[in-house]
Symmetry: C2
Subunit: 701 residues, 2 copies
């Protein structure tokens, strides 16, 4: 005998009750009626069923030959894709197989046993079923057969039933991520978009591993996840142990272990590694994330790392995304990279951009180079009145050419997004639409009068106009920056990002065909991926001291330093002496790989000389307890560790870019939400006092 409860039903239980779910699992209610063993026949039928003979696509491809053989029995297994149509004579349903393909199944009197009609009545969307029968061509409205096939049911089994009504399920399946009650992630994952997203991620990982191993002789080595707390960077997750007062920490990256591996004689290490950061979760950060991590020893230039990384990057774009990668050539055009996926790379294809050039041209260290927008230094002509004691002396401008039609409206207002204070960390650029010739010629007088800036001694009106070349319909933005900005992005850099978002089709770089010299516009912008190496970062930053409340200039303590990336990065050899005399002038052997304004990866040559590493800890960074924190690394370096360099790629972000999604959540099966919770399993949870006692900890509020 069959029991139904509020929550669980067996396949045959008629009729279905609509169960309401709330988002929080803990409010689910279950029956408290004592359960009996579920009905034997219907339960065992869920385990005892024929294997699929074909996928739906198999059938479509071999349709002709399959139709010839009248005795050919076909079994399809999958989910019911939408509510079956029950008719007095024929009934219809749609089955979706594991590849996301769908096909019609039909129950026909005489051909299909009556019991299967009854079973179909109790079937609803997203039930898992097994269907066997023979193929026939569908008839169109005029009664003619067409090329499409359907399966006439001879056997029908419900392998498991979904427990919601079809209408609600249909809505849930196609809900946007924001609308979907998040514990229903598994319904969403069944849709073709997410199936493709995670399968593509798997293919990317596989391709990357094959390139590492087969093209470059790398060894994949797993490093521990129960690591040591080295509280220098982001906040780390702790793991209590059953030794009183002793904790592991989950690693932010395998950085230290991979350097120890270099001292262990491995010359080419990689790992697709889980990493952890307990940071406040922005919309697109996850507390656990995946990193493609590599390190190479006995190399004397970062280019050797870059060549391997470019092999990965060009290959995944060519083979997975099936579009070329682009670089910016010397004339500022985009040039498709001619990359031979069959042969290992021997040189860098992307060009290099120095930190200083990136900040002065684009106001950020990860510029989106699809756009040709860049800044004009006005400091020859104008001096800002407010420069925070001369720390921000450069006045720079960005012109959005022909942003609007000056004839169309006299009242054109700059899009709010470009000037919204919420989009800026601190001060904003001043943004002016150029409505008229007057505006173009005399816009600055007003600001001189108001005392925003004043002309320099060399101010020359003609030269000034030539440098800006303003026309009606342009939008002008200007702001201040430091000579070498630590502010990153600068106010104008942020403005540039917002302008690219706001006007995605404007000011894009043209594409040059290297063979023919032909120049064309970007046609499908979503298929354009422009990469660059950003190099020559300052090795150290002054420590920022800006007050929380400040909405003006950031302030710095120029006598205390922190590593721009991490303390293990080597200085550029030509800047070596500056480590002693002027650390802020030292450039690091760090390199970032930036694609379309996203930092895809970053790496560096490392300090393998323990004596120099110790100097950096003690004298530059003034880390007093470096022996406790990093003694293990110094020890490993001091034992004949060879020179080495490496890089890490953000794997989640890379996968998201490749499937064309702005969100890494789309390529993670079970992402955490913004409170760090997993709504599917309802973690984190409270833990019993007894368990905590084993770890010698207690909670407090």
């Amino acid at each position: 005998m069959l029991r139904t409860t509020a929550f669980f039903r067996s396949a045959r239980a008629p009729p279905k009750r609509l169960v309401k779910y709330t988002i929080n699992h803990t409010t689910r209610t279950y029956s408290t009626v004592p359960l009996k063993l579920p009905d034997k026949e219907s339960t065992l039928a869920k385990f005892d069923f024929p294997l699929a003979t074909h996928t739906i696509n198999d059938v479509t491809k071999a349709l002709k030959s399959l139709l010839k053989n009248k005795d050919q029995k076909i079994t399809l297994n999958g989910h019911i894709n939408r509510k079956p149509r029950i008719r007095a004579t024929m009934s219809f349903a749609e089955i979706r197989d594991a590849h996301g393909d769908t096909s019609q199944i039909v129950m026909a009197p005489g051909l299909t046993d009556q019991k299967f009609f009854d079973l179909l009545k109790s079937t609803t969307t997203e039930d898992s079923v097994s269907v066997s029968g023979h193929l026939q061509l569908k008839q169109n409205k005029e009664g003619e057969t067409d090329r499409q096939w359907e399966l006439v049911v001879e056997n029908y089994q419900i392998l498991n039933s979904s427990n919601l009504d079809a209408a609600r399920l249909d809505k849930l399946k196609h809900a946007s991520p924001e609308e979907l009650p998040p514990q229903f992630r598994y319904l969403q994952l069944r849709t073709p978009y997410f199936q493709n997203a995670l399968k593509t991620r798997s293919r990317i990982a596989q391709l990357i591993r094959n390139i590492f191993v087969e093209n470059h002789g790398f060894t994949e080595i797993e490093t521990p996840l129960l690591f040591k707390s080295t509280p220098e960077g982001a906040r780390e997750f702790l793991v209590p142990t059953r030794s009183p007062e002793k904790f592991y920490a989950l690693p932010q990256s395998p950085q230290q272990y991979k350097q120890i591996l270099m001292s262990s004689g491995f010359t080419r290490y990689f790992q697709i590694a889980k990493c952890f950061r307990d940071e406040d979760l922005r919309s697109d950060r996850q507390p656990e994330f995946t990193q493609v991590d590599l390190e190479m020893s006995y190399i004397n230039s970062s280019d050797q790392v870059g060549i391997v990384v470019e092999d990965l990057i060009h290959s995944v774009w060519n083979k997975i995304r099936k579009v070329p990668t682009y670089k910016v050539n010397e004339e500022g055009y985009l040039e498709a990279i001619a990359f031979d996926t069959s042969a290992p790379n021997e040189k860098l294809h992307f060009s290099k951009l120095s930190y200083t050039e990136a900040l002065t041209k684009y106001g950020i260290d990860k510029p989106d180079l699809r756009s040709k927008l860049q800044f004009i230094d006005l400091s020859k002509f104008l001096v800002p009145s407010k420069s925070n004691n001369g720390e921000f002396p450069i006045l720079e401008a960005c012109v959005l050419k022909a942003a609007f039609d000056p004839a169309a409206s006299k009242k054109y207002k700059v899009p709010h997004n470009l000037v919204d204070p919420l989009n800026y960390t601190r001060r904003r650029p001043i943004v002016i639409p150029i409505h008229s010739k007057d505006d173009a010629n005399a816009w600055y007088n007003k600001f001189i009068e108001k005392g925003v800036f004043s002309p320099t001694a060399e101010f020359n009106e003609d030269e000034f106009h030539r440098s800006l070349n303003l026309k009606e319909g342009d939008i002008l933005a200007f702001s201040t920056r430091a000579e070498l900005p630590y502010e990153n992005p600068t106010p104008l850099g942020k403005f540039r990002q917002l302008a690219i978002q706001e006007f995605p089709t404007k000011w894009n770089r043209e594409i040059i065909n290297k063979e023919t010299g032909e120049i064309s516009q970007q046609s499908k912008r979503e298929d354009i991926f422009v990469g660059t190496w950003v190099v020559d970062f300052p090795l150290f930053n002054p420590i920022e001291t800006t007050a929380e409340s400040s909405d003006d200039f950031p302030t710095y303590d120029y006598t205390s330093f922190e590593s721009t990336h991490h303390p293990f990065t080597m200085a550029k050899l030509e800047d070596y002496d500056l480590l002693e005399t002027d650390p802020l002038k030292v450039r690091g052997e760090h390199y970032d790989l930036v694609v379309n304004g996203v930092e895809v990866g970053g790496g560096s040559r490392r300090i393998h000389d323990a004596c120099l590493q110790k100097y950096i800890f003690e004298k530059v960074l003034r880390i007093t307890n470096y022996n406790d924190l990093f003694g293990h690394l110094l020890h490993a370096l001091s034992m004949g560790c060879p020179p080495h360099a490496g890089l890490a790629l953000g794997f989640d972000r890379l996968c998201a870019m490749l499937i064309g999604s702005p969100s890494i959540r789309d390529v993670i099966a079970f992402p955490k939400n913004q409170s760090g919770a997993d709504p599917v399993v309802d973690s984190p949870t409270a833990v019993s006092e007894k368990t905590l006692n084993q770890y010698f900890i207690t909670t407090k509020i």
Copy 2:
């Protein structure tokens, strides 16, 4: 100017000071003298050096053509393999490259600059160096050239120095794992044995992934490591969060997430996954370990999982270990498995062994089938006097045929290992050497007299003798067991394991050549790998209630049950009704893969029917809070989750077997020690009060 400190030296600092290390990192002392920036020239030389033109093996292979070109300059980079020999005229050193090959380098007056001679004097074992020069053939003692080459040094650079004297380093490098101060793991990892171990592990992972993806269409999906505490199995590591009283737990396996993935429409999932268990560490367990995890949906038999798993197993043995796998055929011979690595498998090759057969023949659920030792049931003849109220009524024997030479010594004593109480959990078998015909014929009388056992009514002396067939030189062991033993291994099962260890060359199964019928002995025992599927486990065990102090029979509460493996395993369909009437009689759809007595993997068909799963939780296992613990899984199952089954392989153990090591530590770069500490980085550590406050926890002792 160059500074040396107690700990860190630059390459040129003469002469080296021997620094003593203690095992505990925290006792290392560093100089407190203020540091200056290390000497520029020698430090930068460590970063600016020529790349290797060849590996040593490259040179050996291309020696003839390389020698022809007199101008050919060769650069080798690597470690100095042992202390250089400094002579008044010529000096010699040995360089080891990253592949573990070694070559002699020679400094010759006239050819090598004097400064390099001086540099070689300050060189010691395990310094990292770059050497350039030209090739010549070595001269043997008679002054004749032989086929071996050496490199005449024209440029020599120390890329990093090791900071211990050569003698100590040599000793450390070749120390056994027990002797090596464990923070020197990186020296050990440089040796060819460990280089091979970790490179082989990487190759195995790569091969396994390729088989999953290319042969079987699996998708690799990463599941979260920040999971939820579900305190049903082993002790879990907790991860405090910045929400008061909320904890993640690190997963013991991806079991629940992978079942949710089955409900998410993925039909073939795999992952090489990190798992965590906070258990008391036996010699060969690690708190973090790696598992090859797979799950398949829409399958109706565990064989479909087994076929994929056998593809992995036969392939890694064939391609990595380069030996065949064996099964036990029906006559009890070993038969090499004919496996075509180029084509996916279509059937199971290993045979199946039921739990009952395994326990009654071999006394354990993971028998080492290389040995043909098996047990003789004596219950037809003898009844034990002590049977714990009839719970252990079976008297069984194991005979070690011709274990000793009865003529050689009248005083032969059974090896202590076989009878050492420390080797047994509770009661031990009685073990008797058969010294004489008398012993063979009348050994049991003594035990009948002593009341150890008594003859049955059907006791027939001839039949009894035939069944045991004892001869002088045999060792007889006998003990008791239950009808269906939950004791696993049984006392005699443990005895069998010890006997195999003690007499590795005896009682091994013969190998049959399937083509010719020829029968041969096992020749290289370390190359024989015998696999079997163990099936038909009881789905539930009675909960053990044995008192800690007991050294006799284990006791059970036969009215309360626990899952033999985990609560998600399906019952055998034919035992379905027993779930209600007699749960202990239910056999599970669980299958273990056992190779040479090691459980390589285990898996099952799962319960995909939420109603049945709930019944098992509530009625059989009496888990009252199953909604809190497993509500997420019930929810996922109830949403049309298809039938599914899977398996997990212990990857560390698999790799250790394949490199022929008894210890998983040999295939883990940085294993934890038996206290759960990582001596290389000195984790776990204390954490500041400030950090703990962020997680709303405090420590207590």
